[in-house]
């Protein structure tokens, strides 16, 4: 009684004081968080704007022909991107050509074959591989992988498949092939972890159905797991392509940085991203603008791959919730 009588007026006042703070707090938190959310859009818009602005003079000077000519001559200020587009395409598609079956195999292993207790540790190890900084993979690529490929793998491939122009007779520790291998190592964790998540959404009843019909596990995979997961696997490959296309540092380290379009994947080349990384410092204004044009192409490719992949993933998640 006494306490209440004694504290009532003061807590009454503090109650009113808090009322103001409280009312202000709700608005304030809402507005601050809204501003932060808008900021993310502003950054994305700013990046797009700045890259297009930078590319402006190159776009107006070279037009779409920029994409199909392969002349990159800073001295005479003639620029064409075809060789870098070729380098990006070959290194990325090549990497995904290796990474996709590998990743599907890893995902199948982790969802269907591996002993239960070893699944999480192996999955964690594969994901740790994704956490290795690209500059370190590049260092490893240039000093360990490149010489190994040059001395062992490239001659062997040439001996076995030398009749295909891709596997020509000139070897080099740096070039498209090491870039492909490094990009494979970078994309496998991404592709396999997403593929694994997709496989996990396959309803167990469907899998049991296939097994109950007397199918082997392989039959079960081909009749239920893989068809059911197709959109998810496509999303995973898109995400892998996004990662491969945008990687600048490790590729710069191992690709050799030589311009030109060659059928032979063993010799040095250049991608769009690595060209930007290698040349941006100290380039003349038009040269920088041409690099900006490369960045525009790169940005569009990344956004398309990434955006489509995310939409596909959303579709898969929705379906998983429904079933």
């Amino acid at each position: 009684m006494t306490t209440d009588a004694a504290t009532a007026p003061s807590s009454l006042l503090s109650g009113q004081g808090r009322g103001l703070v409280d009312r202000f707090g709700d608005r304030a938190l809402y507005l601050i968080t809204l501003l932060a959310a808008i900021l993310s859009g502003v950054i994305l818009g700013g990046i797009t704007y700045e890259v297009f602005k930078l590319a402006g003079s190159a776009i107006s000077k070279f037009g779409l022909g920029f994409l199909t000519t392969s002349n990159w001559d800073p001295v005479h200020e003639q620029f064409g991107a075809a060789q870098f587009i070729y380098g990006t395409a070959v290194s990325s598609f090549g990497a995904l050509l290796i990474a996709t079956p590998l990743s599907i195999a890893i995902a199948l292993f982790l969802t269907e074959l591996a002993p239960r207790r070893s699944r999480t540790p192996i999955a964690v190890l594969v994901e740790l591989l994704a956490g290795v900084p690209s500059v370190i993979l590049g260092l490893w690529g240039i000093l360990v992988l490149g010489p190994f490929l040059n001395d062992t793998v490239e001659p062997a491939l040439h001996a076995a498949l030398g009749w295909i122009p891709l596997f020509g007779g000139t070897y080099s520790p740096v070039g498209l092939f090491p870039a492909m291998v490094i990009l494979t190592i970078m994309t496998v964790p991404i592709v396999s972890s997403l593929t694994r998540e997709v496989f996990a959404t396959v309803p167990p009843s469907a899998k049991e159905g296939a097994l109950a019909l007397g199918g082997t596990r392989w039959d079960m995979m081909t009749t239920t797991v893989l068809p059911y997961s197709r959109p998810g696997i496509i999303a995973a490959v898109m995400l892998g392509l996004w990662r491969a296309v945008g990687e600048a540092i490790a590729v710069t380290q191992v690709i050799g940085g030589a311009p030109g379009i060659h059928a032979n994947i063993f010799i040095p080349a250049q991608t769009m991203a690595s060209q930007i990384a290698a040349q941006y410092q100290g380039a003349s204004p038009l040269n920088q603008s041409a690099l900006g044009y490369l960045a525009v192409v790169l940005l569009i490719l990344s956004l398309v791959f990434n955006g489509v992949a995310r939409l596909l993933v959303r579709g898969v998640q929705r379906r998983a919730k429904v079933s």
Partner: protein, 300 residues
């Protein structure tokens, strides 16, 4: 003499709510004589006395286009436990959630009508939703202690939200735990996480948490539906003890429970209030045929 919130005039009460003074026990009490006491300060909880009256007038509630509560008129009387029964989906939870305005937290939900606390419309203009919830406590279907907080902090949470002075908090937490019948079980381990308690204890912790802020009204939304019979019995006994201190409404789908705890029972069906009356009459001699069918298990 007990301090009585009812000593306060109606006008004062309205001012309390609109100016967001949180607890009835804090209201100025001109009629209470000053009293000297050197004993340990007793919590207001022990002297709380159920005096507040809730009256729903033509209450409607919607989820988007779904009309969940259709024009209910109902009173919760002080000193009595009101049970609201009815088949699931009949709108009974929605209805009580309109009383402390939790209904409007759901996106797309809205309501109309009047919810009177004595004679202040809790849905009226100038009434702050936060102040409403300090007057009207709620216990949910599933025990929901704050997962990161200790037993003590769970009960103290509401007091901290209302800016209760630090030196009062310990006493009031202890009193609330006592009132919720939990004190003997948790004494000496108040710093353990609230989640470490059993299901029934967690639910009583939630009751203590609601009581600590000394609400005038306590809404209980199927408080025992997730509990075993022993824990259920404890909570039902608790409801019986608390009804003199706070006006209580209990939503339940369990008719026997309503029979055991409630003085007044209201029966809802498809969003409408079918019948309300003394519990005994509702279960033995209801006026409405549908009530009879429900309480005798003939449908639902």
């Amino acid at each position: 003499m007990d301090y009585e919130p009812s000593d306060v005039t109606v006008v004062d009460r309205k001012d309390e709510i609109t100016s967001r003074i949180p607890r009835p026990a804090e209201a100025p009490a001109p009629a209470s004589p000053p009293q000297q006491s050197s004993e340990t300060p007793a919590s207001g909880l022990e002297r709380m006395h159920a005096t507040r009256h809730i009256r729903l007038e033509d209450l409607h509630a919607y989820y988007g286009s779904n009309h969940a509560v259709k024009g209910v008129n109902l009173s919760f009387e002080p000193g009595k436990v009101t049970a609201i029964i009815g088949p699931s989906g009949c709108g009974k939870s929605t209805m009580v959630r309109c009383v402390n305005r939790m209904h409007e937290e759901i996106p797309g939900a809205r309501s109309q009508g009047r919810v009177l606390l004595d004679d202040v419309d809790l849905r009226g203009p100038g009434v702050d939703v936060v102040a409403v919830r300090r007057f009207v406590g709620m216990v949910f279907q599933k025990a929901n202690p704050f997962p990161t907080m200790s037993i003590f902090d769970n009960v103290a949470a509401g007091l901290r939200f209302t800016g209760t002075p630090r030196d009062e908090i310990t006493d009031r937490v202890n009193a609330a735990l006592e009132a919720a019948g939990l004190w003997d079980e948790v004494e000496g381990r108040l710093s353990e996480p609230g989640m470490s308690l059993s299901g029934g204890q967690q639910q009583r912790l939630c009751i203590a948490r609601a009581l600590a802020v000394e609400p005038a009204v306590l809404l209980m939304d199927e408080p025992c539906s997730a509990l075993d019979p022993v824990a259920t019995l404890k909570i039902e006994e608790l409801i019986g003890q608390l009804k003199q201190r706070v006006t209580i409404a209990v939503v339940t789908h369990n008719m026997q429970q309503a029979g055991r705890v409630a003085d007044t029972t209201a029966f809802m069906l498809s969003g409408e209030l079918v019948e309300v009356g003394p519990t005994e009459k509702m279960f033995t001699n209801p006026d409405d045929e549908r009530t009879e069918q429900y309480v005798t298990g003939k449908f639902g």
